[in-house]
Amino acid sequence: MSSVEDFLRENKPQVKEDPTFILEAQRRMVQVEGIKAEVDRQRSRGRVALIIALCGGLAIGVFATAITFLYPIDAQSSAEGLLRAARLYLQDYRQYLPMPVAILAITLAVVLFKRPARI
């Protein structure tokens, strides 16, 4: 068995000198750095957009609450009025009701059975 071991130790594979190897590695690392920087840029943009959305939501919420308190309305009578108007509308145009239902069904069928696009 020692002869095999001696053979292996005496015949180690020899790599050719290649000065471009490290240069190529460095080039790839620069590319990796570029990708990392781009990813960081995208993340920070996403973070800014999220903060703007949160601030916007908060401002609109505060504004809506302030309006509600400043100009109170009778919510119950308004709701009843709306329901009554809806009921009258349905009674007047009930012959056209199957049309939106059919459109909805066709749209759902198209969306559900559409093949996903190949990327």
Partner: protein, 159 residues
């Protein structure tokens, strides 16, 4: 780890790393260098997670071995036995060329784990413990792989 530090570590390890992959690729120098470059990119991307619990070279060799295994999985259908000597050191006697040819042909016939264990133990002079962490297997298994590898090589190499 900074880019400069990483490059300086890689400069020290490039020859052993390329030799290890050259043995795994049975003398195909171009393929070995491609895998080495992939391994360096992976190592660089993951260098932030290197905690220094093992030697840098052990960590790098482990990544390189994983890259090699990934390559084997992808290239398995096309894999053909080495028919000719590859990357033989130029200017050497025909006797030495013949020995390298024998070595690469024999290595090509070994299973991946045996080949990796043999390459690390005999060509890189790594300890069993280091080989165990590079190949992610218990030390007893490394010894078994080495023993099986030696037995197989004895059959394949004419001494």
């Amino acid at each position: 780890m900074t880019q400069e530090r990483f490059i300086s570590e890689v400069r020290q390890q490039q020859e052993p790393l390329r030799r290890f992959l050259l043995a795994l690729c049975a003398g195909d120098g171009a393929l070995a260098d491609d895998i080495a470059q992939d391994a360096l990119v992976r190592a660089y991307v993951a260098s932030g997670s290197f905690l220094g619990l093992s030697k840098f070279s052990t960590w790098l060799f482990r990544i390189a071995y994983n890259c090699y295994i990934d390559h084997c999985r992808k290239a398995r259908p096309e894999k053909a036995p080495v028919e000719e000597a590859r990357n033989l050191p130029g200017g050497d006697s025909s006797d030495k060329s013949f020995r390298y040819q024998q070595l690469y042909l024999a290595l090509d016939r070994l299973p991946e784990k045996e080949k990796a264990a043999i390459a690390l133990f005999y060509f890189e002079d790594r300890s069993i413990k280091e080989i165990s962490s590079i190949l992610d297997m218990p030390q007893g298994t490394v010894k078994y792989q080495l023993s099986m590898g030696r037995q197989h090589l004895k059959q394949y190499i004419q001494l």
